[in-house]
């Protein structure tokens, strides 16, 4: 050929890097919110959509272009300038994006496609209908699959959970993914059923007494109060911190909040004990929880007591 047509650079609308950075911007906005907040889930939906589009555009920007009605969006995605009046690039629906990714990426399965369509569908319902699509949905229901889907998309563009979420959040993500993938954890359902049978076999008076004792115990012990999946009494989960503590000063008091990921459960009413995040996730107790402590400002900034482990000073004879 005497002359080869050379397109311009990929326009921003279709550029994989631009789409990736938008996904990352949304995820940073998300991480400023509480993980059990409906808005947190909403922003995760935005982020997932753009990450999926970035992964597809990384295969080819042309795959994102809407070609049902005419060819100008495809022409634009290829780096040319359409002459159409009032041209605005149109891209395919996000459900189609997930469908194409399932066909293209070997690790992106039907399950990931299903989750992607469900999660971004909730986002659509939140934005376009009267439904409160993200309210009341426990984070443990969607977060493990969200992180797993993100990990596969990220891997397809040569990046990692750490690159995208940062080291701290990636660590939590990894724990949640591993916990969800632990098939052996499902055995805990049998243990819960067994405790439920024993519990129901007790007399009503005894059940009421044990439940009342558990309620007092759960109030006094350190941990996060939940309801027992076997007997519905008040019980506790405890775990390790997964975020830096955040302090807020208000009216001379310092409120410190910190997020924890649970790893242990105990109910003293029916005696059920569960160990491990994966097993807790199976019975719906794997959600992150927040520990809040209130300090007097003077107490907070006071120097550490050199004799903290000792009984209180007492100079009485």
């Amino acid at each position: 050929m005497k002359r080869t047509v050379t397109p311009k650079a990929t326009p921003l609308s279709w550029d994989p890097e631009a789409l990736y950075l938008k996904a990352q911007r949304y995820v940073q906005h998300m991480s400023a919110l509480d993980s059990d907040d409906w808005e947190y889930a909403l922003w995760s939906g935005f982020s997932l959509e753009f990450l999926a589009r970035a992964a597809l555009a990384n295969v080819s920007p042309a795959l994102l272009a809407e070609t049902d009605k005419n060819w100008t969006s495809l022409y634009h995605a290829l780096g040319f300038t359409p002459t159409e009046e009032k041209f605005a690039p149109k891209s395919i629906a996000v459900s189609e994006v997930f469908k194409r990714l399932t066909a293209i990426l070997p690790d992106f399965t039907k399950e990931h496609e299903g989750f992607g369509i469900l999660h971004t569908g909730r986002r659509n319902a939140e934005l376009h209908t009267g439904e409160l699509a993200f309210d009341g949905i426990k984070a443990s229901v969607w977060q493990p699959r969200f992180y797993q889907t993100c990990e596969i998309l990220l891997s397809s563009i040569g990046t990692t959970l750490e690159d995208f979420f940062g080291e701290d959040e990636a660590k939590v993500a990894r724990e949640l993914i591993d916990a969800a993938a632990d098939e052996s954890a499902k055995a805990v359902k049998g243990e819960v059923e067994a405790h439920k049978k024993v519990w129901l076999a007790k007399g009503e008076q005894e059940r009421l007494k044990l439940s009342a004792q558990a309620s007092v115990w759960a109030t006094r012990q350190a941990g996060h109060r939940v309801y027992c999946p076997a007997c519905a009494s008040q019980a506790l989960v405890v775990g390790g911190p997964v975020s830096a503590p955040v302090q807020r000063l208000s009216d001379g008091e310092i409120t410190e909040t910190q997020e924890y990921l649970p790893n242990r459960f105990e109910c003293i009413a029916c005696g059920l004990k569960i160990l491990g995040l994966s097993r807790l996730t199976v019975v719906g107790l794997g959600d992150r929880y927040k520990k809040t402590q209130v300090y007097d400002a003077a107490e907070y900034y006071a120097p550490n007591d050199d004799y903290a482990g000792y009984e209180e000073d007492n100079n009485e004879p």
């Binding site: 921003l12 950075l21 940073q28 906005h29 690159d163």
Partner: protein, 195 residues
């Protein structure tokens, strides 16, 4: 040897650049507000990456003195010191945007972008603005670093004195221009790579 011959000998000059291949840098007390001269006049210029608001800033800049003075210097700051203090985890996720649209749109940019042979680090407190939560954090931490850093001061004093700067790693600044030094003249060429 003139600067064009020198640039060709050293590497590949950036030819598809909006201005001329060789730019003459002369202090100006007033200029349009979308330039450093328009904002800072003859005062000190802050540390920055040249063309930090580009999708990929030029890799190297070559400065060659035409009329120079020993008391007007170019200040250099190694980005590695900032990487170490602010951490790569933050810098690679710090999303910024240009303060004005460019080529019909606003592009999101990372402060520190992985490349085939390392990282492209960018900084410009005037023309780049944080566009995400980590961007805000990075902006604050980098500003805190500047007073702690010891910049290298290099004066292009004699005609033909030449300075080659790795624009992806080093931040540079210009010292203030005394009134009697306004005839200082430096030539600049951007290079895509080195031979």
């Amino acid at each position: 040897m003139d600067i064009v011959a020198l640039a060709n000998a050293l590497g590949q000059p950036l030819t598809q650049w909006e201005g001329r291949l060789v730019q003459d840098l002369v202090p100006r007390a007033t200029a349009t507000p979308n330039t450093y001269s328009g904002i800072y006049g003859l005062d000190r210029f802050p540390f920055h990456t040249d063309l930090a608001h580009w999708r990929l800033p030029p890799r190297y800049l070559l400065l060659r003195c035409v009329i120079g003075y020993a008391d007007v210097s170019t200040l250099l700051l190694d980005g590695q010191a900032i990487f170490d203090a602010v951490t790569l985890d933050i810098l690679t996720r710090a999303i910024f945007k240009p303060r004005r649209p460019r080529i019909g749109g606003i592009t999101l940019l990372r402060l520190c972008e992985p490349t085939d042979d390392g990282y492209c680090f960018r900084w410009d407190d005037v023309f780049l603005k944080p566009a995400s939560r980590i961007g805000d954090i990075a902006s604050q931490r980098i500003r805190e670093q500047f007073p702690k850093c010891q910049p290298l001061s290099i004066a292009l004093a004699q005609a033909s004195d030449t300075l080659l700067i790795d624009n992806w790693r080093m931040l540079h600044a210009r010292s203030p221009i005394p009134a009697e030094r306004v005839d200082r003249k430096i030539q600049r060429i951007y290079l895509e790579n080195l031979r």
